[in-house]
């Protein structure tokens, strides 16, 4: 991909946190997966492969966590919570709006919400961008490509 995370590779925090995440995923996988029949090596049931993967995640989670604890140096990366939350909300706004309000209004609303993910959104450029992109998408997807989505409210 085009961008790389800034290197915090030497920090114990990223290892420890990643380790806990892997561990949690592994334990959850094993816990839910325990309901699936494992079978045996010859005739594997639906639970065999999930157990292998869950087990591996637990092992690698512990290893990563352990390495993080040994490393020390607890530099936590800065988190961009604002764009994270706002972009997710923008996605949901689109999903809630498109069937009832149509592509154009849903598009404008999505762009309006998403624009607040910037540090200092400026009202006029945001409004122009929202209207422009909404109109562009309504024409392109609604009329030119004729996707089966409503363009206007119904």
């Amino acid at each position: 991909m085009t961008t790389q995370p800034e290197s915090t590779a030497e920090s114990g925090f990223t290892d420890a946190a990643a380790g806990i995440l892997f561990l949690m995923l592994g334990v959850t996988a094993l816990w839910i997966g325990s309901a699936y029949e494992a079978g045996n090596a010859t005739d594997m049931g639906p639970g065999y492969f999930p157990r292998l993967i869950g087990g591996a995640l637990v092992v690698f989670g512990i290893a990563t966590l352990g390495r993080g604890l040994l490393r020390g140096s607890w530099i936590a990366p800065a988190w961009a919570l604002r764009p994270l939350i706002i972009l997710s909300v923008a996605f949901l706004v689109f999903g809630l709006a498109v069937e009832r309000l149509g592509l154009f209004i849903a598009g404008v609303l999505t762009v309006l919400v998403a624009s607040f993910a910037q540090r200092q959104p400026r009202p006029l450029p945001v409004a122009v961008t929202a209207l422009g992109l909404g109109a562009f998408c309504a024409v392109l997807f609604g009329y030119v490509l004729n996707l089966s989505l409503p363009v206007w409210p119904r």
């Binding site: 991909m1 996988a29 699936y36 492969f49 990563t64 923008a90 762009v111 089966s148």
Partner: protein, 500 residues
């Protein structure tokens, strides 16, 4: 040999029809555009456009998607040379000598070198794809489940080795990807696994959903927290050609780059980026006067530019010939084929020759178009860079939302994309590479099925993977890659260059 010519003739007759030429041109142009723009890569673009290709015939759709991938290689080098801004990770090395040349007033020469090297490499790689696909397809007929399983293990190990950062976390990310791949009804018993009672998840999580989340949305979040970087004055582009001595210096490097790129592109886990780094290292190590590199050596542009384009195209070989996507972009291509009801498999060349050869021939035509259209359009591409990110990111987001929603008109899919975006961002922040996860997600279901079948045939004896010669060879190769990590020189190169 005549068989090959006949096949290429079939491909040519498919590729030069008007809709397919148009799709090829459109794909190449879109690819160049997103190659120029930092912050959006080919995978996210293909994910966005996949729903549109649904309305095209499968061959036309694949021709366009392929164009996006190799077009991005051309576009990435343009900004790398002019502004020291690699639009794609595969053009990072081009910045070194390409930008130095531009600063010396030789921007036109550097751009021409990059375009000609890419075209040369594209021609070589197209021939290699054509030549090697048939024998590989024939070989794949003798592959059983054990061989397929081992091949996928090799692919995943390669993805770990060539990923960025700690191999420990990359291996863990493989298992995360395999876990997400489990979601859905089990093929053998029909039992729902990890669906949380949601009927929408019974068919599994779509690859488009995952890749759009982790490569599209997560990237936007990561870009937004960085201060916007739009500096870099663009010098005037002088004469777009090479002098005879420059040409003499450049072409052997381009030839070597094509060879390395093709070789590394075929490897599972490989692709465009790896070859460009390897080629630069080779040119610098064995070139005359290595101290010229980084100060505008033309070989430092010709080699890596040839290699990244050759690699991009050669990475089609495992997917077309064996039905196994070797990297995330190819996984996207496989996803596009599946949407059109074509399962990637070794029988593709015999079952759908028009698609198979049409795609191969179109890649060469696309390279030719890029050579012709790209150089005159450089001014336009550079101006596009002035689009502020405040306009670009809502546009990408909206395109993603419309794209994913129109596939299944499912609200759950939008929630999932947002969820994978958040998860992808967390993983980025924790230095966990996303490419191995995405590849494992695609290969997971195939791996489980082949593992089950292989073990059933061998009556539960895991030694079957070591007693079958092809399977053993593949596993030995995978082990060899792990050993490579212990070689200090390789580790150093990996740490200083690895990406994605």
């Amino acid at each position: 040999m005549s068989e090959l010519w006949n096949a290429l003739a079939v491909g040519l007759s498919v590729a030069v029809t008007l809709p397919n030429l148009g799709a090829c041109l459109l794909g190449a142009l879109i690819g160049t555009l997103i190659g120029v723009l930092p912050g959006i890569g080919p995978v996210a673009t293909m994910a966005m456009l996949l729903p549109i290709t649904f309305y095209l015939p499968p061959t036309t759709a694949l021709i366009m998607l392929a164009g996006i991938y190799y077009g991005a290689q051309y576009g990435g080098s343009t900004t790398a040379i002019l502004m020291r801004l690699p639009g794609e990770s595969s053009s990072v090395v081009t910045c070194l000598d390409g930008y130095a040349m531009a600063q010396q007033g030789r921007a036109g020469t550097a751009l021409a070198t990059a375009a000609l090297s890419s075209f040369f490499a594209g021609t070589v790689a197209t021939l290699i794809v054509a030549l090697f696909s048939l024998p590989l397809t024939a070989m794949a007929q003798s592959f059983g489940p054990a061989e397929y399983f081992s091949l996928m293990v090799l692919g995943l190990v390669a993805a770990v080795i060539f990923a960025h950062g700690s191999p420990l976390k990359a291996v863990a990310m493989i298992f995360v990807g395999l876990l997400f791949g489990l979601v859905g009804a089990d093929v053998n018993t029909g039992i729902d696994r990890y669906t949380f009672g949601l009927p929408e998840l019974r068919d599994g999580i779509g690859f488009v959903v995952v890749s759009m989340g982790v490569f599209g949305i997560a990237e936007i979040i990561a870009n937004l927290e960085r201060p916007e970087r739009r500096d870099g004055a663009v010098g005037t582009v002088s004469r777009l050609w090479l002098s005879l001595p420059e040409f003499r210096a450049a072409w052997p490097a381009a030839a070597r780059g094509s060879a390395i790129g093709s070789l590394l592109g075929v490897l599972p886990g490989g692709g465009a980026m790896l070859g460009s780094f390897a080629s630069y290292a080779l040119e610098k190590r064995f070139g005359r006067e290595p101290e010229r590199f980084g100060r505008g050596a033309i070989e430092g542009v010709a080699g890596p530019e040839a290699a990244n384009n050759a690699g991009a195209q050669a990475s089609f070989i495992p997917m077309l010939a064996l039905g196994i996507p070797g990297n995330v972009v190819m996984a996207m291509m496989a996803g596009a084929m599946l949407i059109h009801g074509i399962a990637p498999s070794p029988t593709l060349a015999t079952a759908r020759p028009e698609l198979f050869w049409g795609l191969i021939v179109s890649m060469w035509l696309g390279n030719l178009m890029l050579l012709v259209i790209n150089l005159p359009l450089i001014g336009l591409w550079v101006r596009l860079l002035k689009i502020p990110y405040a306009v670009l990111f809502p546009a990408i987001l909206l395109f993603c939302a419309i794209g994913i929603y129109s596939v299944n008109t499912s609200f759950i899919d939008l929630v999932l994309v947002a969820g994978f975006g958040a998860l992808g961002y967390v993983f980025l922040k924790l230095d966990c590479p996303l490419a191995p996860m995405a590849l494992a997600f695609v290969l997971g279901p195939m791996m489980e099925e082949n593992l089950r079948r292989a073990m059933l045939l061998a009556r539960g004896d895991p030694m079957v993977f070591l007693t079958k010669p092809i399977s053993l060879t593949l596993l030995v190769a995978a082990a060899g890659l792990f050993v490579l990590l212990l070689v200090p020189a390789f580790r150093q190169a990996r740490e200083s260059t690895a990406a994605g």
